[in-house]
Every structure is written in C-alpha cells, then in structure tokens.
C-alpha cells in the first residue's frame, strides 16, 4: 500500500501536464481497440443469444403453465442478484481463464430480464385474439408463432434491449481476467493512472451500448410496424 502510494504520488506530479486525451495513444492502439471491440461485441452476442435461447422457451412454458412462473422467477432472480464479478471468480478454479468463466455469469444475469419481458409480452396478447385464432383452426404451434410471438414482439425486444445494454456495461468487469473487451482499457487506465485509455474504454463501451440499443429499436420498428415505441413498457426486473 505504501509503495502504491509513493508510486501514485510520483505519477501525480506528472498529472498537471497530462491531457485528458492523448490522441497519439489512440492512433498507436488502433489495432487493440478493434480487437477489444470485437471481443466486446462477441461476448455481448454470446450472452444475449444464449440467454434468450434459455429464457424464451421458459417463458413460453410459463405462459401456458402458470405454476412455473414463480419458481423460474425465483431461480433467475437469484442468478441475477449474484454479482457478475463474484460469479466469475467463483468459476475461476473450475473453468479457468476461459470464455465460459465469463459467459456463464453474464448469461445468468440476463435470464431474469429476458424471461420477465418475454412472459409479459406473451401475457399482453388479448385472450379474445387467441380464441379467435384457435376458432380459425390454428394449432397450438401456429398460435404461438403466428399470433402470440408477433404481438408480443415489442415487449420481447424491449427486454432484449435492456439485457443487451446491461450486458455491454457488465462485460467490462471481465477485464479482471483479461476478457473484458473495452473494459481492459478502463482497467489499464486505472492501474497506470492514465486518463486516455480509461476515457477511451468508457466512451467506446457506452457508444457500443447505444448503437446496440438503436439497432434493436430499428429491428423492432421493422418487425412490428404497427406498434409505437412509446407504447411499449418493459419490465426492468
């Protein structure tokens, strides 16, 4: 700690002349910025896609068998509450410094958000609409894919947006074991008392979250042109 303090104070002496952003650092690290960005995007996709592949069937099942709502909510609630970084270090001795160690906690975190929103979306479909569809001779499968899912789409995508934005922010934690995408720059900046990588890491991470959010919003507009975005209410846990 005292060494740390001495080191910090010597760096402090240089800080008055240190600009917040050294542009030369950015051009020097262009390759690393790209590779960290790809890592960040890849982990985000893995998290949200696998999370959704688990949460979606669970929500469909729960919408038909109400008894399942409470236990699934409780289990995913516990997984949501365990801090991702603690979860990562809990898995570290089992799965090592692998992608799995990072992906499992992130997926676990996203389940509650995805499950609750998918269920809320399915529940928002009017019973009369479903009865009419059944009356027209649709099978259960057709009812799900042709009526319920399209009508639930705005709320489902609202859940995907929350899960995606939260995951992009959360992934930075994985920098602690070297898999944090832009989070690595934040950690580098912290460890070297150097503003440039810290700011680059934060700005790019937030920008990625906004870009992903806009992309999903655009997707929702395309998929459900009849729904207005302002009319959609997501369940944020």
């Amino acid at each position: 700690m005292s060494d740390f303090f001495v080191g910090a104070t010597t760096i402090l002496a240089q800080q008055d002349t240190e600009p917040l952003i050294r542009w030369i650092w950015i051009s020097d690290h262009a390759d690393e910025i790209v590779s960290r960005g790809l890592q960040h995007v890849y982990l985000t996709i893995v998290t949200v896609v696998i999370g959704f592949l688990i949460a979606f069937p669970a929500a469909v099942y729960a919408s038909r068998h109400r008894w399942a709502v409470s236990p699934i909510t409780s289990i995913s609630g516990v997984l949501y509450t365990i801090p991702a970084f603690a979860f990562i270090f809990l898995l570290l001795p089992i799965t090592g410094l692998s992608l799995t160690t990072v992906a499992i906690p992130l997926i676990a975190y996203s389940l509650l958000i995805l499950f609750r929103n998918t269920l809320a979306g399915l529940d928002s479909v009017e019973p009369e609409v479903k009865e009419a569809a059944v009356g027209m001779g649709l099978s259960r499968r057709q009812l799900l894919w042709r009526v319920e899912v399209p009508l639930a789409m705005p709320v489902i995508i609202a859940g995907l947006r929350i899960a995606t934005v939260s995951s992009i922010a959360l992934i930075t934690i994985a920098a602690l074991i070297g898999r944090g995408g832009f989070g690595q720059f934040i950690l580098d900046g912290l460890n070297t008392f150097f503003w440039t990588p810290l700011i680059v890491g934060v700005v790019l991470s937030v920008a990625l979250a906004f870009a992903a959010d806009l992309l999903l919003l655009g997707l929702q507009r395309l998929a459900t042109p009849w729904a207005t975005a302002s009319g959609v209410r997501a369940v944020a846990t």
Binding site: F4, L12, I186, F193, L198, V206, R233, V235, A236
Partner: protein, 233 residues
C-alpha cells in the same frame, strides 16, 4: 470442484475470522460502505423523483438519465472517481471517499426512475378526487401518491442496494476495503481458496441484501397493491 471445497475450507478456518483482514472486519467494511452510499443516494434521488412524478416536469430527461445510467460500467465510475480523487484530493484518495462517491452515483438512477414512475403511475382519477376533496398538493403527495408508489420506490431501493453491494466488492481495486479485498488479494497471490471464499461472501451478502429489501418492501407496501415493479424501457 476442488476449488469450491478449498474456498469453503478457507471460510471455516478460524484463522480467517479475526484481525483487520478477518471476515467480520471485512463484512463490516463492506456493509458500512454500502449503507452510507445507499443512504446518500436515497436522500438525493427520492426527493427529486417525488418532485418529478408529482409535478410531471422533466419526465423525458429522467428516463434518458436512467437509460444512460444503465449503460455506464460500474468499473468505469469507480475508476474515474479514483483518478479524480488522486489528482484533486490526494490525501483522501486512498480511503473510503472515492468508493462512496462512486457507489452513490451508481445508486441514484435506479432509485430516481422507480420513484418517479411510482408516483406517475398513481391513478389520475384518484388524484383528482383527492384534490376535489380539498387536499393540498402536499397532502396529495404524502397521503396518496407516496403510499401508492411505495412498492416501486422499494423496488428502486432494492435494485440500488444490490448494485451498490456488488460494486463495493470492486472497491479493493482502488485500494479500498470490503470483501473484494479477498478476491483481489487472492488473485494477486494466486490463492484460489481466498478468491473463492471472497466470491462466496460477496454473493451471500448480495442475496441477503436482496432478501432484506424484499421483506422490507412487503412490510411497507399498502395492502391493496402487490404489483411488481415496472419501468419504461
């Protein structure tokens, strides 16, 4: 699986239950950091949320603020506060201060949005009826809107508390205390049992926080409503 067992063994070893680096001391540090940050965040966010919900001013910006809050990594807030503290208040930078400020900032958006939505969701006909009975704006707020909004306000506090307890685990990265010490030190020393024990303690403390606030929410909610929290996307 051996790693988990070693972690559990570390947890029950009496040697780890005393001194400044003992489990009780680290739990106490963690709880102190979290409680102070949560109290300050509540004192800032609840009044603003009540005001916005009651007057319906600045609703758009509140929602945007909450969305931006969600997209900013906790690690970044903590790092920025630490570097600012090192530069501007070097004598305080290696204590509680940067962590408390960062945790407070992280808690504010979710408390604010839930308080605002809670007040804003109160049935307008009921509010009109209350005004028609001659209640003042202040009376409407405290005797009608706040009790009706209580479940959502408590949801906000619960989510903020869990996030603060989780992020307090990262305080060790900026030379702070708390249970994250075991994880960060264990990682530096390559002691798996210490890492796992720290991770278990942080996870248990987070779950207990969640449980405590769920019970508190049940105790404070009006009997007529038990609707779960809803927040606009």
């Amino acid at each position: 699986m051996n790693g988990l067992l070693e972690g559990l063994q570390w947890l029950v070893d009496p040697a780890n239950w005393s001194g400044v680096d003992g489990i009780p001391a680290r739990v106490w540090e963690h709880v102190q950091l979290s409680v102070i940050a949560l109290v300050i965040a509540t004192l800032i966010a609840v009044p603003i949320g009540l005001w916005i919900g009651h007057t319906r001013r600045g609703q758009f910006w509140t929602v945007q603020f909450a969305n931006v809050g969600r997209s900013i990594p906790s690690l970044a807030v903590l790092s920025i506060m630490f570097l600012i503290a090192v530069k501007e208040f070097p004598s305080l930078a290696f204590g509680f201060l940067p962590t408390i400020v960062a945790l407070t900032l992280l808690g504010i958006p979710v408390i604010l949005i839930n308080t605002y939505v809670g007040i804003q969701q109160v049935d307008q006909d009921t509010v009109e009826a209350a005004r028609g009975m001659g209640m003042s704006g202040r009376q409407v707020l405290w005797t009608l809107e706040v009790p009706m909004a209580m479940p959502l306000i408590m949801t906000g506090l619960r989510l903020a508390a869990v996030q603060i307890v989780a992020t307090a685990g990262l305080a060790a990265l900026i030379a702070g205390g708390g249970l994250g010490r075991y994880i960060v030190d264990g990682f530096a020393l390559r002691e798996n049992d210490r890492i796992v024990a720290g991770a278990i303690l942080v996870a248990v403390l987070s779950l207990l926080t969640d449980l405590a606030f769920s019970l508190l929410a049940r105790a404070t909610s009006p009997k007529l409503s038990s609707e779960p929290g809803k927040v606009p996307a």
